[in-house]
């Protein structure tokens, strides 16, 4: 029964994400469309984090690193292309690009490599140490971005024209929203498939009992490392979209506030729930929009809400609405 209720909640969330911007389109409210796009992108960043945080039980406080890497992939490649400056000329020529698909591929590769390095070190620790070391790595990248003048340093980098996607006018808000929503859907389907696979079983096993994993001959470290890399790649893709949404990327995307926000989406919506990040990101954006306009300290009620969720509703918003999760 609870499964059916969760399915219902999930359907409502998905339908709302699609219909709200369509209604906004009819009412000629592009700002609402932009908000919905932001929800889709943040949800996608959360889907990435949820893989390690929710299913793997690994509290990464450094996912802004990957979100920002995706953002800078978009910003750097676009700025080179728009300024007609090759990224490097020798030994061979590499030019910038304004094609999202190429940007995404770069974002995926770079984030995967960075995640492999960070994961290989951080995953040897656990608990509070893991939280702190992931944070430390993300902050290192953050300060690196600030102090590297070539790409704007602290001021960030503007993308004058939103990058392109074949067959779509990405500057049209509803088209860009559709692109982001499809990307989110792909990330969620991918995540759902992954969780039900052999790998997903092992990942969730490693969360519950690493001793038992070892005893049956599966090394939790390797499972977690692969999950960490996949998780980072999804979050990086969201970061690339976010840079294109704002047509701007700055070290803010890499800061620990951002890591915290992505974590809030997941926790608020429901840790280890497929639609948790979407619910959390939507609630976050709605609160920010409704309260942020009238009250400078809108994050205060958010904090209280978060506290209530952590203390009384571990399943987050989806958990409260859909009931306890049954076994996977």
């Amino acid at each position: 029964m609870t499964m059916n209720r969760e399915f219902l909640i999930n359907s409502i969330l998905a339908i709302a994400l699609i219909t709200v911007p369509l209604i906004a389109l009819g009412m000629d409210e592009p700002f609402i469309i932009t908000l919905a796009t932001k929800v889709a992108i943040f949800a996608m960043a959360g889907v990435g984090l949820n893989l390690v945080l929710g299913y793997g039980g690994l509290v990464s406080f450094g996912h802004a690193a990957f979100f920002g890497i995706g953002g800078y992939a978009a910003g750097i490649l676009a700025s080179h292309a728009l300024n007609y400056e090759p990224i490097m000329e020798s030994p061979f020529l590499i030019e910038g690009t304004t094609q999202m698909i190429i940007i995404w591929i770069v974002a995926l590769i770079v984030s995967a490599l960075v995640a492999l390095l960070i994961g290989a070190i951080t995953l040897r620790t656990s608990g509070v140490y893991f939280i702190m070391i992931t944070l430390a790595f993300a902050q290192m990248i953050y300060y690196f971005a600030i102090s590297w003048p070539a790409y704007g340093g602290e001021d960030g980098l503007s993308i004058y024209v939103r990058n392109g996607f074949p067959g779509i006018n990405t500057l049209d808000p509803i088209s860009f929203f559709a692109l982001c929503a499809v990307m989110l859907a792909i990330a969620m389907v991918f995540s759902a498939v992954l969780i039900r696979s052999r790998f997903g079983l092992a990942l969730q096993g490693a969360r519950q009992n690493a001793q038992r994993m070892t005893a049956v001959g599966i090394a939790p470290f390797r499972i977690r490392l692969v999950a960490f890399v996949i998780s980072a790649m999804i979050t990086a893709l969201a970061g690339a979209l976010y840079a294109d949404l704002n047509r701007f990327v700055s070290p803010t995307m890499l800061s620990w506030h951002m890591s915290g926000e992505i974590m809030v989406f997941v926790i608020l919506g429901g840790v280890g729930r497929l639609f948790g990040p979407l619910a959390g990101a939507a609630l976050y954006i709605i609160l920010e929009h409704l309260l942020g306009g009238v009250w400078e300290f809108w994050q205060l009620p958010l904090g209280v809400l978060l506290l209530l969720v952590v203390l009384f509703a571990r399943g987050g918003l989806v958990g409260v609405l859909a009931g306890e999760r049954k076994h996977v």
């Binding site: 498939v193 997903g200 009992n209 038992r212 005893a215 049956v216 001959g217 599966i218 076994h327 996977v328």
Partner: protein
Amino acid sequence: MSDAILSLSDVTKQFGSLLASDSVTLDLRPGEIHALIGPNGAGKSTLIKQIAGEIKSDRGDIHFNGQNINALDAVARSRMGLARTFQVSSLMPEFSVLQNVMLARQSVSGKVFRFFKPVLGDKSLVDPAMAQLERVGLADRAQMRAADISHGERRQLEMAVALALEPKAFLLDEPMAGMGPEGSKRLTGFLDGLRGQAPILLVEHDMDAVFALADRISVLVYGRIIATGTVDEIRGNDDVKRAYLGEEA
């Protein structure tokens, strides 16, 4: 001696000033149940952990299946065919009973990094896992969460997971712990039939079970093996009587 599946020589582990295992020499031969008994704190569980690779020995050699496994970690030793159960049930509480066993099958299949095929529809995992659940009498609990079954059933599930690994040797750390007399009796019968599949190193406090099952018994006291022999030899051994069995034996 040479055809032993598992053999320990001079295995030693010291924690601070405490010698948890002191030059332990022990072997496990094909087809036998070798019971390891000793008073609480004698170092039985530590020795199991050393054999399983969870604790590194300070000294000594462990050979398994003709190979020195000193340098191998617990994952590698499990994959070589050394299956252990835990004194306190160690399972995946949120997984179903079936999923707990499937995870072990997944390890045996060697294909853990598969990302797309749904695991619950994978007959190559489900069927052998169900077969093991049937063997231990848990088939009707297959879909229940491991956290929701009874203590005795969790002990049975531990056995099913170990069986699913198709091991070359079992390390059973007090499999009867916390089981009622009925359950102990059933498990004793079950283990009796298991020695044909793979030899068992059995740590157990339940003396009825030990005397009923063991082909040989080793007695561990303060980390030292003070005697090894058949049930009758151990029962008649004066050192053992003094150190462990007391007057009642």
